[in-house]
Subunit: 548 residues, 2 copies
């Protein structure tokens, strides 16, 4: 007779395994279902004169899911969307995953060739496109080999351009069931969204996000920003950029209001702050600059303090100082497309309160410490992968590890394996780490300037240029030099009516920087930018090559 034995570890007995009742694949879509059930009447979406509550938003998302499903769109299928921050863009972030498909938001500022590449590479079966972008899309479709079904967004607030497709978005919704019983993915590791990096060189890479990571970062945002119930969130950050930093879901789980913004302009921003009582917004420093440099005619008074989360490139201390004086409170985060938006935060330390405002701004310009849900961050020698000393001086590459990092790059095992070498995600960003653990980015690997064997951080030089009273924007790149190898070359935009000369600016730098770090040449004009507000340094580098 066999002995009936307890298993070696009774906590791992088979009947204690995961079951349908106690283990459900996480998906951020569930947050909309819950908020729509609890607060069906609360205001979910504002767009011009349009108002939709959560009951309606959820019904429309399910209609979209159901309509796609009826067209045979499901697991493994890609639905692309070309749209600014309008209600349809939000709905697609819910409706497409609810159909089991993968949403591919396109960067609206891309050229037709790149769009054609992305549509083919992502194998889009459906393309939802706003008529404003019909010239680009029409040209892209001529170049693309794939033949996605085209659905037009015919937004009353965006009536330029043509209708290109078989029907409008509203007509597509009519095909769907507003009560559609969507299912969570069968595995939380399934693809949720496909988002192409803006790729300054070579073909764009398709970052594949999973449901698990979006769910976790959605909740982490709340903890990091200490968000209240029912925030009023202004969509100044492009939703197509890094999942909108997961705010399509964070705002929804808190039953807040999404204030849409077709075009990010100073007058529209101030109008939203005054009219809708906006409490939270995100954006690259370009948005901060837009606010600071807005004209009196564009400004409107508002009563609340507006919480602003910013990232992309480190905001110069002077920018931080100026915008806080205007009624905004800045939280500085850092992330990349590959990590679901923000992955670190410059967490405020109480003792900073006793520092001078400029010193506070210097602290706030650091990229900071891991999000509470990021498992690990380290700064290493790129070759040896050994951590550099946390002394605020030694520069190394930032590596990250955690549950809020992409699955990898679509159809690109080489780039994926390279990015995930040695059990870490390699950011390509170069930083120092201070004794308190805070990191500060010194440059992208490719942006560092090597002059006479010394590393010069272009960001440090830019920080000084931003402090010059006549300068609105600045970017520094390497200029080839026979003697030194490279020297810094500054591209600057002056304030209207200002007349600082190149010599004056170089002199200003010499007063504030080690001399070897100072620009040898200064070029005046506006700076070329990517669609996400990052200066396109590769273009400036090309230009610097041609100088002299």
């Amino acid at each position: 007779m066999a002995n009936s034995k307890m298993p070696a570890n009774p906590f791992e007995a088979e009947f204690l395994d995961k079951r349908e009742a106690n283990c459900v694949p996480m998906t951020p879509s569930s947050f909309l279902a819950r908020t729509a059930a609890v607060y069906p009447e609360r205001l979910a979406v504002v767009h011009g004169g349009l108002r939709r509550n959560y009951g309606t938003l959820y019904r429309r998302a399910r209609q979209l899911a159901s309509a796609l499903k009826r067209r045979g769109i499901g697991a493994g299928d890609t639905v692309a969307i070309m749209a600014p921050n309008i209600p349809e863009m939000l709905e697609a972030h819910y409706g497409v995953p609810m159909a089991g498909a993968v949403l591919n938001p396109l960067n609206v500022r891309l050229d037709p060739d790149t769009i054609a590449f992305i549509l083919d590479h992502g194998a889009a079966k459906v393309l939802i496109t706003d008529r404003e972008f019909s010239p680009t899309i029409a040209a892209a479709l001529e170049k693309a080999t794939g033949q996605p079904a085209i659905i037009d967004i015919d937004d009353p607030l965006g009536q330029t351009g043509e209708l290109l497709g078989e029907k409008t978005y509203e007509a597509l919704l009519k095909e769907g069931d507003p009560g559609y019983a969507w299912l969570p993915p069968d595995d939380e590791w399934r693809a949720l969204v496909l988002s192409y990096t803006s790729g300054t060189t070579g073909d764009p890479k398709g970052v594949v996000y999973h449901h698990r990571g979006a769910y976790i970062n959605t909740l982490a945002n709340i903890a990091v920003w200490a968000m209240p119930h029912h925030p009023v969130y202004l969509w100044t950050l492009p939703i197509f950029h890094s999942l909108g930093w997961c705010y399509p879901w964070t705002v929804t789980v808190l039953a807040g209001t999404h204030v849409c913004l077709r075009r990010v302009e100073p007058a529209a921003i101030f109008s939203a702050l005054a009219e809708h009582g906006v409490t939270h917004m995100c954006g690259a420093p370009i948005v901060l600059g837009m606010i600071i440099n807005s004209s009196a005619a564009d400004r409107q008074p508002f009563d609340q303090t507006v919480e602003v989360m910013t990232a992309a490139s480190p905001p110069p201390p002077t920018v931080l100082e100026k915008i806080e004086a205007m009624g905004f409170s800045i939280t500085h985060v850092y992330g990349l497309t590959e990590v679901f938006g923000p992955a670190t935060v410059c967490a405020w330390q109480e003792e900073w309160g006793s520092l001078s405002k400029p010193d506070q701004a210097i602290r706030k310009a650091r990229q900071g410490v891991p999000y509470p849900t990021l498992e690990a961050m380290t700064v290493v020698e790129p070759e040896t992968l050994k951590p550099v000393p946390a002394d605020g001086k030694a520069v190394g590459e930032i590596l990250l590890r955690g549950n809020t990092i992409m699955k990898g790059y679509l159809k690109n095992p080489e780039a994926t394996n390279k990015a995930f070498d040695d059990g870490w995600f390699h950011t390509g960003d170069l930083a120092v780490q201070y004794p308190d653990g805070y990191v500060e980015i010194k440059d992208r690997s490719k942006d560092i300037i090597i002059s006479g064997g010394e590393n010069i951080s272009s960001i440090e030089v830019e920080g000084v240029l931003y402090r010059h009273p006549d300068i609105v924007e600045a970017a520094v790149v390497a200029h080839p030099d026979e003697k030194w190898g490279e020297t810094p070359c500054a591209f600057v935009t002056l304030r209207e009516g200002a007349r600082a000369s190149a010599d004056e600016i170089i002199e200003f730098c010499r007063d504030n920087l080690a001399h070897y770090k100072c620009p040898q040449s200064v070029v005046f004009g506006s700076l070329p930018k990517t669609s996400t507000g990052k200066v396109q340094k590769f273009l400036l580098r090309d230009e610097a090559q041609k100088l002299e």
Copy 2:
């Protein structure tokens, strides 16, 4: 030559699988590591005159983990702890799981027989025990067959009782390495904590919690309560009860302060509110009652509004009204040991603001809607499992589904399978659901009174009794009746000096209730309670049996 083919679903290609860099088992222990790194100097723990910062708390947790590890304690091993809400109790919630072992917090009010049963059933290898409870523990160890290593907590604030074991907790810590490199579990489904239900009948059941659920509910608490950075949290809720509703981790991830409380008494509570600026606390309605009925001598003024999360049994509207007038703001949640503490919340609706205070209190006494991280809740006919109409009248059993539900009951496949029948967790709680989706518990299945074929909710009758000015506490159970089958029997505690008679109280009920619901008999005296503040209705039922 074989064709190299893309996989059918390119998003599921093998190189996009989970890796070390992008998928790390979730454990709430990681929140302490992160907070200790970011805020090493912030005040983590207050206990009498003792102050410890997060750096110290993390070092001590690692010392505990390391000391246990060196003694061979690891995966599948149980470490029991018998302690009130003191620093050692918090540390154990970090240190024991960091060793890979399972923590088993014991209910300090249990009798030696039950403790002996639990120690043997959970197979505790180590028992950490506070000297105050040495009489119970000494008696339990005589009865237990297992021989756990005994470690004594010798708290300067609790010097009654004896030291029973081989060494003190502080001496154990000295065996450990404060820099111990703990590892997350190899699977987030691993057991984290073992917690026995207070079990009003039969042997207690050992609820096994997983790391995944604790991680998720920790974050959900922040969203539900809109918690700020650095809350000051008073430990009025027993930590041994349902993981302390996950607040050992929620307070830590927000870098807040844990204010310990050896004994939950009115003077100590008010003193903490005044001295430490407590912002948040949790507790059963018994804690609310303790505050409301506190004497003038015990009270101290405080400036802040104190957020109180309450559950366990529905707070009567009058209790809610009274305590809010005293400077507390109540959030009503509902949960069970099996679901990591709170699983639903009575989410506030703006339009309730226009209701009268008593009407607001009636809304707030409902158990509400699912936590944002609970995947599903339904109220069903217990036999057919068909949802009852959401009409505020039809009574059914609450079923739950989601990631914050236990693995099951240790060594009890029968009870586990029964609890998880048909893909849901069966709460055993009977409720109605209103048209707005909010649930209101009418009774535990076994607490319903059936009189003349009509179901009478003991909670409804108790709600009326609580409105009587002379009554401090009330509980209603079934009394056997030849004619009606059962009739309600009320047990009440009168305010000091009050003299209401049984007839007056019955008359008061008849003014406020359908007559068939009114108690036929009233018994005066204090009410027997479980260690978690729940009235022990099974004792009252026994007493009611013997009446007349």
